[in-house]
Amino acid sequence: MTCPVTIRIQEGDFDIAREIALLTNSRTDIGAIVSFSGICRADEDSAKIAALTLEHYPGMAEEEIGRHVDEATSRWPLNGVTVIHRVGRFMPGQNIVLVLTASQHRQAAFQAAEFLMDYLKTSAPFWKKEESATGTGWVEAHARDDEAAARWTKS
């Protein structure tokens, strides 16, 4: 089964419809595409956020995402994966991350998208800095994200 993989880290926005069209690319063996978008929120624990800045580790970020995409394609029968992570400064409402997973059936696409997002949050080298009325500060990692990623660990 061919499973084209696209991994991009970019400053500019992405167009979800265009990325889905690129992924399907006139193929007729795909029965399900799951699309997850992560968007900059205007508040975090009731504190207002003015903007978010995303920093990454160039080189490692692409490789780390690639390793998790490889694991996803070995665990689920996927027909295509696209991961796009933006870096730079974002205002509330702007896109930050896109994960597309394609498969013949929905279960694999849903599970692979969730798996990829859980690992993106805990092991891909990106860091968020928040700007709010009270100043700027680095976002702290949440234990709930580690727990979400841990449930995919094979026992």
Binding site: Y57, K121, T122, P125, W127, E140
Partner: protein, 83 residues
């Protein structure tokens, strides 16, 4: 070897990358963090809580007991918060 720092580790150290030559008795990531901590106030501040610091060798996550021999690039950073 080349060392890179990211997010608040970079801000505390005051630089994004540098080339270092630790002495031969610095064998593991843990040793390297302890050695760097002794290189001045900025480093001591950046590495004041060594258990919080995450490390990658040549673009792959490693644990604190990993050997640094042969590493081309070592990166130190806080827990990740992307996605």
């Amino acid at each position: 070897m080349k060392v890179k720092y990211f997010a608040w580790v970079r801000e505390r150290v005051g630089k994004a990358e540098e080339t270092i030559e630790p002495p031969p008795n610095v064998r593991t990531v843990e040793d390297l963090i302890a050695w760097l901590s002794g290189q001045g106030e900025a480093y001591a501040y950046a590495f004041e809580k060594p258990k919080v610091i995450r490390t990658a060798i040549d673009h792959a996550h490693v644990k604190s007991d990993a050997a640094i021999a042969g590493a081309r690039e070592i990166a130190f950073f806080p827990p990740m918060t992307g996605g």
